[in-house]
Symmetry: C2
Subunit: 273 residues, 2 copies
């Protein structure tokens, strides 16, 4: 099954556009897990199980695992999520960007070693740096377009001949998307640009980080980003969900936070005619 | 000691601008090592020892280790290179690019876990995505500017108001370089743009991939990239050196290839007045 079809099926079946971001920081993992054999896995597994009913996707951020040498935990986590929640795609947030044989090795890392359904990539090196990922026909690839941070402006808002660089990236993604595997990353903190990206890309899936701890407005970003059918967006929240509670009851708190986030997102969805 | 001072000292002391790129692909590692306990480490260690006399830097490419789950080998390799060849900086080619706490985790990965002297990063997310790396005052950071691949044009050659995007990145790097930690990546396959980057950045170190297997012209790129003092560039060759020979004598062949590359680069260096 192609990634985009899996995603569409999940949006519909679970009536949710919420993506649960998995950014496990050892210092914030509850104490009763922190000293166990595999705190990264146990913490994320509990969050995954607790929030699955409200999630259209899970998005582990590889930096949190890599900084701690916890690649094995990440592998174990993705394998577990695929087994326990087979209808929910896993997007590995890795923002890779390299060329030729190196890009092939990165693609092998994300799609074979970690077996993620999709990955995030930087567009700075252009099409041939994306191609090796597209060889995996059933997997998805999200290109950074308009990121949610303040300095995103430095490059992304440059005028490149009557349009901004992020708009050019969106149009390039449409050209490059022959196999229907591409999506874009456009942050909730910039709803005007998110709306513009939606205008440019039709129904292409948009990964929308920036609600929750980053302060992006849910109403504005759902209104701006949704496709004509009221779906098309994967609205990510990480810290506001995974650190919603502390101590032994952290998973129940994350479940409650995920339910609230799902409902808030759904409140602003367009109902197709 | 600051990264840039270490690099300058090495350029001078060893009279070399050659960087040995470590891209170990298991399928190309000689058979007598391939079935050993740690083929990635043993292969790269032999290359490092054989080529050290001709190297101003080593550049392991993390994708080759990550695709094989060989992070431990990479850690071991960098620790070994630091111990056995303490005057030669190790640049971890990782092309990371992310923001806020995620960028801090990536910085911790490259500078604490792997203990690299320098790293490569993507500029697409702007200054605040670079800052967490600059907090490590003695380490270096190379931003992608003009990459050596054909599709580099897609974004990097866009006109952003009277200059190309790669030129803007070079000028931004000059602004962002308050602590003297930044360098740029500019490929040998585009000597005209390499010359332009040099014009824009004064003495800033340039990492120049693309000679050897990628076909960049040594004379053209050394002429274009060198600073006024005949140094300023780190000219990387990976496959042409590490796969110069086969079988049991691979290290001797890589040593010979490194010597030839070093000499060829030096032939075109300007001698300062």
């Amino acid at each position: 099954m192609k990634f985009v079809d899996m995603l569409k099926a999940r949006w519909r079946a679970a009536n949710t556009l919420l993506c649960v971001g998995l950014d496990p920081d050892l210092a914030r993992i509850p104490e009763h897990l922190r000293n166990g054999a595999d705190p990264f896995f146990e913490f994320c597994k509990s969050i995954v199980d607790a929030t699955a009913g409200f999630a259209c996707a899970f998005k582990p951020q590889i930096a949190y695992f890599a900084s701690a040498g916890a690649e094995d935990s990440l592998q174990r986590l993705i394998a577990y999520a695929r087994e326990a929640h087979p209808a929910i795609p896993v997007i590995l947030d890795a923002k890779r960007g390299d060329m030729a044989s190196t890009a092939h090795h990165y693609a092998r890392e994300v799609f074979e070693r970690y077996n993620a359904h999709a990955v995030t990539l930087s567009p700075y090196l252009g099409f041939d740096s994306i191609e090796p990922y597209l060889e995996y026909a059933d997997r998805g690839t999200f290109l950074l377009c308009r990121t949610s941070n303040a300095s995103g402006d430095d490059l992304q808002m440059l005028d490149v001949g009557g349009e901004r660089l992020y708009e050019r990236v969106a149009r390039l993604a449409m050209q490059w998307n022959r196999g229907g595997q591409l999506g874009l990353v456009a942050g909730a903190t910039y709803p005007n640009e998110l709306a513009r990206v939606r205008e440019l890309v039709g129904e292409m899936p948009l990964l929308v980080p920036g609600i929750g701890a980053q302060g992006g407005d849910v109403q504005a970003s759902v209104t701006a980003g949704q496709a004509a059918d009221g779906a098309g967006i994967i609205v990510n929240s990480s810290r506001a969900i995974i650190y919603a509670g502390q101590g032994e009851h952290f998973a129940a708190a994350s479940r409650a936070a995920a339910r609230i986030a799902r409902d808030e997102i759904n409140r602003y969805r367009r109902v197709p005619a």
